[in-house]
């Protein structure tokens, strides 16, 4: 908090009003409605709805498709975080190493960040189409790749499509993290430890912990929510629902199936997951890492 502040009876509220107003109408009102949907059930003709306690939640726990989507979302977030994090870190370390062309490399690696997931998905589509997809044919030659039928192959398809652009975000943040490490620390470590590989893992990487954990959260959020556009333009859940994320399944149940009760209950389950991840981040991780 500032030591010097303004005191006024009303002008602070004038500054707060626009954002608060938008949040209340376009965020809190829908959230309240989400809860109302989740605890009610529409009758078959859409004339009325009645309060059903946790029935909608019980239905999703009874639905095997929900667990398939749950499993996929967990695997998807984990693999995307791992792939994009390690490639992003590898590239950032190399870019931080070179004497010449640092900013050129930065420019040439940063732009995929700006591309919409849906656009990435449409592009991935061309490389995985049965007709002229290069990757489709390459993988097909190697092990009979066929994402229309094999769950494993469809995972590979959406993982490649989902990881591609996210490497950029990881690269940018890791590079910024590396550049924030003080020169003196690095110089001192060069005297103490001649092996650059060991130096990286014992000195540099621990100093990057704040960036790493921040990126883990960013990547998980990306895999949970932003990949909707990718799934919807690539497999659409193929072979038979195995590549649907939780968000995608909730949307399909609400939109195609017009089951707003189930969509609401699924949304609340996801809010819980996000909440748990956030609390975990604040309580556990923030306490354990040291900032430079």
């Amino acid at each position: 908090m500032k030591k010097v502040q303004f005191k006024s009876s009303y002008s602070q509220y004038l500054f707060l009003a626009p954002q608060l107003g938008i949040l209340l109408i376009f965020l809190y009102w829908p959230i309240i409605q989400t809860f109302r949907d989740a605890f009610t059930m529409q009758d078959a003709f859409g004339f009325g709805s009645k309060f059903v306690w946790f029935d909608n939640f019980l239905f999703i726990f009874d639905d095997p498709a929900y667990f398939i989507a749950f499993k996929f979302t967990i695997i998807y977030s984990f693999v995307i975080t791992l792939i994009t994090g390690s490639i992003g870190l590898l590239l950032a370390v190399q870019a931080n190493n070179v004497m010449h062309g640092k900013s050129t490399y930065k420019t040439l690696l940063i732009w995929p960040y700006a591309i919409a997931p849906a656009v990435v998905g449409v592009m991935a589509n061309y490389f995985f189409s049965e007709r002229f997809g290069l990757l489709y044919h390459l993988f097909h030659e190697l092990w009979g790749f066929n994402w229309y039928e094999s769950v494993f192959d469809s995972y590979i398809y959406v993982i490649i499509a989902g990881s591609w652009k996210q490497i950029s975000a990881n690269f940018i943040f890791f590079l910024a993290g590396l550049q924030a490490i003080q020169k003196s620390v690095i110089e001192a470590s060069m005297i103490d430890c001649k092996n650059s590989f060991r130096r990286f893992w014992t000195i540099t990487f621990p100093l990057l912990m704040p960036t790493t954990f921040f990126l883990i959260i960013i990547n998980i959020t990306y895999a949970f929510f932003d990949t909707f556009g990718i799934i919807d333009t690539t497999t659409i859940g193929a072979p038979s629902g195995e590549t649907r994320t939780l968000v995608y399944k909730a949307y399909m149940d609400g939109f195609r199936g017009l089951d707003l009760g189930s969509a609401g209950a699924q949304s609340i389950m996801m809010m819980l997951i996000v909440l748990i991840i956030t609390i975990f981040q604040f309580r556990y991780i923030e306490g354990k890492i040291h900032y430079n």
């Binding site: 502040q5 707060l16 954002q19 591309i115 997931p117 592009m123 910024a176 968000v247």
Partner: protein, 273 residues
């Protein structure tokens, strides 16, 4: 000598990384300059063909959609309105809210803080149908307002501005007060010029965020007149090279903005590091 080897190794890794990023996009671009029959017979192309003008002009001006009511040009116009609207609305409201939170002694400050920042945990995807029904109730379906405002309901920029204001030395306000500046003058004449880099960074971030929206425009526009570029990808019909051309054009505006303004973007986002 070892320095030369390790640095060559670094360049090699970076080059592979760049190729992974550039080659797929280049191939779609190269393919978009050929004819459809060429693509259908020979697959994706590595080298440029000579149908560039023909394909791109046709995509820009062709009346597409189910009812043949919209051209790609109009979609770009819509996307531009939406992205600009999201950027300006969210940045202006966030600047103001962050100002009130940092520079005022407010009753229930902690409660207000949480009311604003907990919203970051509830992305639009989690409340999409209720948001739609709110928009329907307010009669905002099929309007620019409906495309823009729910996307602007975001406290991310507020978080960044708040962090930034907290690093501004207290002396600034003291001296401004000595100069006789009131709250509004201090905000406009002192704080906003000081936060220029951060403002540009947030404008870029929110512009790209707005431009790249896919699910929300898909839901909130039933009239083709309000279709945006990114959602149009799924809607556009046409032959394969025209789809390539459309995909290529769809990614130009955000990439251009990120590349041209990357200094501001990186500086703004990492200011407090």
């Amino acid at each position: 000598m070892t320095r030369f080897i390790t640095s060559s190794f670094s360049h090699l890794i970076l080059l592979i990384g760049i190729l992974i990023m550039v080659v797929p996009v280049w191939m779609i671009f190269a393919s978009s300059t050929h004819t459809s029959s060429m693509i259908n017979m020979n697959g994706l192309q590595m080298f440029l063909g000579d149908s560039f003008y023909e394909n791109y002009l046709r995509v820009l001006l062709y009346q597409g959609g189910f009812f043949k009511e919209i051209t790609a040009l109009k979609m770009f116009f819509n996307s531009f309105i939406m992205a600009t609207g999201v950027a300006i609305l969210s940045v202006v409201t966030s600047l103001m809210a962050a100002y009130a939170l940092v520079y005022y002694r407010i009753k229930y400050a902690t409660l207000l803080f949480w009311i604003i920042f907990i919203t970051i945990l509830v992305p639009l995807e989690l409340r999409i149908f209720p948001t739609y029904s709110v928009m329907a109730e307010l009669n905002l379906v099929n309007s620019y307002f409906g495309l823009i405002v729910p996307i602007s309901a975001s406290a991310i920029a507020t978080l960044f501005f708040r962090q930034f204001y907290k690093t501004v030395p207290d002396e600034l306000l003291e001296s401004a007060k000595l100069d006789g500046a009131n709250t509004w003058r201090f905000f406009v004449d002192f704080l906003i010029p000081l936060s220029k880099t951060m403002i540009v960074a947030m404008l870029i971030f929110m512009f790209v965020f707005g431009y790249n929206q896919y699910l929300w425009p898909l839901l909130v526009t039933t009239s083709e007149q309000y279709w945006t570029v990114v959602m149009g990808l799924k809607m556009m019909s046409g032959s394969i090279v025209h789809r390539f051309a459309f995909v290529m054009m769809s990614m130009v505006p955000p990439i251009l903005i990120i590349i041209v303004l990357q200094k501001y973007f990186i500086k703004g986002v990492f200011q407090d590091k």
